[in-house]
């Protein structure tokens, strides 16, 4: 075995082999948050949605905001990693899995938000028994379950060779790894099938991912409500989703890098490249936001303007302008210059800012349109209750915990893909570049 491979094993297997103090501290914190969420949930089950801050006409609040937010983050993994795989971006190798896990886990929390929002959660399965295919909510059910299935398969396939490695290294966990490895022995035939399956899933997952967030936007856009009824909403939501998804990848890889000392694998160049992607998405997001706002403003339809003004100068103005700063000004200022982008911390700060901004964006889509209905009514402003906030904190806490548990069961950096990059891709890339050149790069 060559030296570098042994080194490989050490660093990347280490998180799976050892459970340190940090993990238990994280588990304790997440446990506290989870318990708080459980209490809040029981209170809500007992007393109904009266324990939220919702009212007439703000029938939807944080739960729907978080549904859109979580489903948006889910575009982190599967979509980005599929695009990077298909475009042969070699730098993707150490980050794809970290991204794909986000997708699979966060989708459960997105669906959980819908369950929390139901007045009658006991009747949730009615959406299957009495499905009305004309309802955009049902389109959501179909799109999200399809996406969850596809992204789970897409996470699992590239895991198989790594599970086989673990099966051979950790006899005490054979009960888990043996069935999951599906008898992987790395034969040329198995490799061929695996590569083919991954490619098929990567292609399949892209339209599914795009459809998911398009359909999420249609829940709003299909109504006639001011500033919801917009043709731009489908692509606008997809752009926002990819935007917040890339920010989530940056945060996750930065934490994994720090916690497991993986600086050798997750290098500044990865954050540099992710930073460029984030910068591009920040510009696209701003373009969409600007187009949406200017069209509304210029058309100046009174019911739309009421919502518009509540955002730009009314009750929601502080959140709105914070959103503009957090989603556009901060990331562009930090990422447009190579000097700052090359430092990991700047990219991480930009990503954190984008997550905050995108949370505000989701909130500002859901709540203001409902707060200013077409026919005026006496309404108390919506203020989320402790129950809604606790359940959000619990979801975030438990998500982080489950993510950490995943890193304890499976390598968070794909070992075989990194090895493949080292063993095969350097030659592959050289050949590819040669093929671009006249005379196959032979030169005069």
């Amino acid at each position: 075995m060559p030296d570098h491979e042994r080194h490989d094993d050490e660093r990347l297997f280490a998180p799976v082999m050892r459970v340190g103090r940090g993990f238990w501290m994280l588990a304790a914190c997440a446990g506290v948050l989870g318990f708080l969420g459980l209490v809040a949930w029981l209170v809500q089950l007992r007393r109904g949605l009266s324990v939220t801050g919702l009212n007439v006409p703000v029938y939807w609040g944080l739960y729907i905001t978080h549904f859109v937010f979580f489903i948006g983050i889910s575009h982190a993994g599967t979509l980005i990693s599929a695009i990077l795989r298909l475009s042969n971006a070699e730098w993707r190798r150490p980050i794809t899995r970290a991204a794909e896990v986000i997708t699979v886990l966060v989708l459960f929390f997105g669906m959980g938000c819908i369950l929390l929002d139901l007045g009658r959660p006991d009747r949730a399965l009615f959406v299957l028994r009495h499905a009305n295919l004309r309802s955009p909510l049902l389109w959501d059910v179909i799109a999200v379950t399809t996406y969850l299935t596809a992204s789970t398969i897409y996470l699992y396939l590239p895991l198989i060779p790594d599970i086989a490695l673990l099966r051979d290294r950790l006899p005490q966990r054979r009960w888990l790894y043996r069935p999951l490895s599906l008898g992987w022995a790395g034969t040329p035939r198995q490799q061929r099938i695996l590569h083919r399956a991954i490619s098929v899933m990567a292609v399949l997952v892209i339209p599914i991912a795009v459809s998911v967030h398009t359909v999420v936007s249609w829940v709003f856009a299909m109504t006639v409500q001011p500033m919801w009824h917009s043709t731009i909403f489908g692509p606008y939501f997809v752009v926002g989703a990819i935007f917040s998804g890339i920010a989530a990848i940056i945060l996750a890889t930065a934490i994994v890098r720090r916690a497991y000392r993986l600086e050798a694998y997750l290098k500044p160049v990865h954050f540099d490249n992710l930073g460029i992607l984030l910068l591009v998405m920040a510009c696209l997001w701003f373009y969409f936001t600007f187009a949406e706002l200017l069209t509304t403003y210029y058309g100046a339809e009174p019911s739309h303007m009421a919502v518009f003004l509540s955002k730009t100068e009314g009750r929601f103005a502080p959140s709105f302008w914070t959103m503009i700063v957090a989603c556009f000004v901060v990331p562009v200022a930090l990422l447009a210059r190579r000097r700052t982008r090359a430092t990991v911390w700047a990219t991480v700060v930009a990503a954190l800012s984008v997550e905050i901004g995108m949370w505000l964006e989701r909130f500002l889509i859901v709540v203001p349109s409902l707060s200013v209905p077409r026919l005026p009514m006496e309404a108390a402003p919506y203020a989320p209750s402790w129950v809604e906030w606790s359940l959000f904190a619990a979801f975030v806490g438990v998500f982080v915990l489950l993510y950490a548990v995943f890193t304890k069961l499976f390598p968070i950096v794909s070992i075989w893909e990194v090895r493949e990059g080292r063993d095969r891709s350097i030659a592959d890339v050289a050949r590819r570049v040669e093929s671009y050149l006249p005379d196959g790069g032979a030169g005069p």
Partner: protein, 232 residues
């Protein structure tokens, strides 16, 4: 088949809210209490909403209170969005809510441009002895479901049974919702909009007639009458 509709004459309406109270009593709508009312959670199938208007023959702007029941739209935006068919427009044009089917997602309440759908934030309660005077003709809604104005549909069923028992066809005056029956100013009328001889059909042809948010294409079956100018 009849197409039931309502006419509300705003030039006669005194905003006394007798219709609101009659509706609450008729349909077993629970009183909200001051705390819930202040939080914007009072259930009311018929509310008075303040609209800007101008009095007839004058430029003096005035805030006018307009009774707003469910408009029972011909093309309701609320029904197609329901994921479980818990709300549908029936063949006589009533936009009905099926309480045992509703999952409480409140998509219909957000899709309704008139904001006339209500949600049961908590279990309905009546202070003693009010619970003894509940109407047996209208079901009490459980917590967590959406409810709305039915045009007092149960009265239509009773009137139909009555007419059948007496072996005669249903007459126009046999069926009126509680709000229309109660209005002391005689500002409300109810009947078949498709019957050209009915009061509502005649009134809805008046030059004073208009519908709320007509431009959305919802086809509301509540017609308002006013000489003044109105804007939402």
């Amino acid at each position: 088949m009849a197409r039931w509709g309502m006419v509300i004459d705003l030039d006669r309406c005194t905003a006394c809210q007798a219709c609101v109270v009659a509706c609450q009593v008729e349909n077993n709508v629970p009183p909200a209490g001051s705390v819930d009312a202040a939080r914007g959670r009072a259930i009311s199938w018929l509310r008075l909403v303040p609209l800007d208007g101008r009095e007839a023959h004058g430029t003096r702007p005035a805030l006018r209170l307009v009774p707003l029941p469910c408009q029972h739209c011909d093309l309701p935006p609320c029904t197609p969005v329901c994921p479980v068919y818990a709300t549908q427009k029936d063949e006589e044009g009533f936009v009905a809510q099926i309480y045992p089917r509703c999952i409480g997602c409140r998509y219909c309440t957000t899709a309704c441009p008139y904001t006339v759908r209500d949600f049961n934030w908590r279990r309905p309660e009546w202070p003693a002895p009010m619970e003894q005077s509940l109407s047996p003709d209208v079901s009490v809604r459980p917590r967590g479901v959406v409810e709305k104005c039915t045009f007092c549909h149960h009265r239509l069923q009773l009137a139909r049974d009555q007419a059948r028992a007496e072996g005669r066809p249903l007459r126009e005056q046999d069926y009126v919702p509680a709000c229309v029956q109660t209005c002391p100013a005689n500002a409300m009328a109810f009947g078949d909009l498709d019957d050209p001889r009915s009061t509502v059909a005649r009134l809805s042809r008046s030059p004073r007639a208009f519908r709320l948010l007509e431009e959305l294409g919802t086809g509301p079956k509540v017609v308002y009458l006013s000489k003044g100018e109105w804007g939402a």
